[in-house]
């Protein structure tokens, strides 16, 4: 099934306008699915519900953009630098927060993200402040991650999603993944049988923060322009990433993908249908739909059962009938 899904994703653009609206929306779905998947490493495997991942996302967006503006450095290097800084920020924030549980962890990370947003708004010398920052134009090409149309970002974001998903699946099956899941289930029991729970949590946070920051670079290059509220914002980034993973199915590889498809398309539909008439109503509708999904299916879309799962896992069974 994963192979079929990737193949379909590769073929779809052939039938669409390469610079059109649909391609842009699907590219966003891929980006946010990848973000949800990075979040899933900490939120899903260790069940630490972070509401501050915008902090790492913003660090990535600003790091590569700053390096591009000041030194003309390729965003690929910017992405690496952003990944390092994002991982370091994740390590720093996980030191004081890792002993917090449940809501307390969520609130502490939310506060961290907001602090980063406020600092980014105030530090105009670095970020351009509330006015925003433009990603300088480069000659089109893969090396400078600069393109005329949206289609290249469609494929780049798809590649990122496949890569991050592979990291997630690899971790879940590894010894590290076993330890993370043990920490999630019962941290004391895990410690007593030899799991260094503090180290495991920090390692997961670093991987998740670094990947999120690297995706921030993709976002910056794709959008040409952004401001602190767009990349450090709680609602547009932190909460959205978490909801994508939770609504889709926390701790599963398919969850963030299904969640991103649902939430990004709902947002687009709501925007198109409603925002012209009543400002803010689209957010309300969006919120209500999320509440409905969480109340009806708290384990997420992946738990909708055989409808999704059987054909994904054992296509031979259905074929044999």
């Amino acid at each position: 099934m994963p192979v079929a899904a990737i193949a379909a994703a590769l073929i779809v653009p052939l039938g669409l306008d390469g610079d059109g609206y649909a391609i842009r929306v699907i590219a966003l779905v891929f980006l946010f699915a990848a973000l949800g998947q990075s979040w899933n490493i900490v939120g899903g495997l260790a069940n630490q519900i972070s509401l501050g991942h915008a902090a790492f996302f913003g660090i990535g967006a600003y790091t590569s953009t700053r390096l591009l503006i000041d030194f003309g450095l390729s965003p690929w290097f910017g992405m690496l630098a952003g990944g390092v800084l994002g991982g370091a920020a994740a390590a720093l924030i996980s030191l004081p927060t890792m002993r917090l549980r449940g809501h307390y962890f969520a609130l502490a990370t939310l506060a961290f993200g907001e602090v980063m947003r406020v600092v980014a708004n105030a530090w105009t010398g670095l970020t351009g402040g509330p006015v925003g920052i433009s990603v300088p134009y480069s000659a089109p090409g893969l090396w400078m991650l600069s393109f005329k149309g949206t289609l290249p970002f469609y494929y780049l974001n798809l590649t990122a999603l496949v890569g991050v998903t592979a990291v997630f699946v690899g971790i879940r099956r590894s010894a590290f993944g076993y330890r993370l899941q043990a920490v999630r289930e019962d941290a004391n029991a895990a410690e007593v049988v030899g799991v260094d729970t503090a180290r495991i949590k920090i390692q997961a946070a670093v991987i998740s923060g670094a990947l999120t920051a690297m995706l921030g670079t993709l976002y910056a290059q794709m959008n040409f322009f952004f401001d602190p509220d767009a990349v450090f914002g709680a609602a547009p980034i932190s909460v959205r990433i978490a909801l994508i993973a939770i609504v889709g199915g926390i701790g599963t590889a398919a969850g963030p993908i299904l969640g991103a498809i649902l939430i990004v398309s709902l947002e687009e539909i709501a925007n198109v249908l409603l925002s012209g008439q009543v400002a803010g109503l689209s957010n309300l509708v969006y919120g209500l739909i999320l509440i409905a999904v969480i109340m009806i299916q708290p384990h997420g879309l992946v738990a909708l059962g055989p409808v999704f799962r059987r054909p994904w896992r054992v296509p031979a069974v259905d074929a044999a009938k």
Partner: protein
């Protein structure tokens, strides 16, 4: 048979706010023995176990495992030194299968593919290899207690603390668990058991430590302990009267 102590507690104390949960507790555990730990509810048995494995930090005294002080070490360090415990209320990872519950302990000393083999061997040791792929949350209580033991064994401990693994077992299951504990001792393991069932403690243990209100009441052979006047007053008298 003079056996050298594997573990020494020297004046161990632990306070939670206004409650002195352990006070000046000193005793030795001999290598290869089965030591019973008894006392009324609230005597500090579980606190003592938690302090030994590092879940609580002793605020007075020293705990020496083969001469090395454990006070201040985190539980995973202590597990690596060869001391671990089971949980009184069973702390299994309910949503994962039985084997994965045990693999986590085997990962302490082995990489993943081998850890699975070791974990399966530990399940075999406790007689549960046939349900290795059942979900832990679907097990009966006696089975859960055995999985706890298997998980502890998978860390390859020198010394194992069993916190009421016989609670809620019937007579047959209890006899089986006692056979298992004796077999583990025969393999060279040192075991401390907390149990309320006095007949089991008497039949199983080489020596017994009695606690009351966080203080050491008596240490001795089972026969000495049941006749010890302080123990009778604090614990057995009441238990036998019922």
């Amino acid at each position: 048979m003079p056996a050298s102590p594997i573990l020494e507690m020297r004046g161990v104390g632990k306070r939670f706010g206004g409650l002195q949960a352990l006070q000046d507790v000193s005793f030795e555990v001999r290598r290869g023995e089965i030591l019973g730990l008894i006392g009324p509810n609230g005597a500090g048995k579980t606190t003592l176990f938690s302090t030994l494995v590092g879940l609580h930090r002793a605020d007075a005294g020293a705990i020496l495992l083969e001469g090395r002080n454990l006070v201040g070490l985190k539980p995973h360090r202590i597990a690596r030194l060869g001391l671990t415990k089971t949980f009184q209320n069973v702390a299994l990872f309910m949503d994962t299968d039985v084997l994965d519950n045990v693999v986590i302990g085997a990962l302490l000393h082995h990489p993943l593919p081998e850890a699975r083999v070791r974990a399966l061997a530990c399940l075999e040791r406790v007689g549960l290899a046939n349900i290795a792929h059942k979900r832990a949350g679907d097990l009966s209580f006696p089975e859960r207690a055995r999985v706890e033991v298997a998980r502890a064994l998978s860390t390859e401990p020198k010394m194992l603390l069993l916190d009421e693994v016989m609670a809620a077992l019937n007579a047959v299951e209890m006899a089986e668990m006692m056979d298992l504990i004796r077999a583990l001792r025969a393999d060279g393991l040192t075991v401390i058991v907390v149990e309320h069932h006095m007949k089991a403690i008497m039949a199983l243990c080489d020596r017994i430590v009695a606690l009351s209100f966080g203080r050491l009441l008596a240490v001795g052979l089972p026969d000495e302990i049941v006749r010890h006047p302080d123990v009778v007053t604090a614990y057995l008298g009441r238990a036998y009267a019922e």
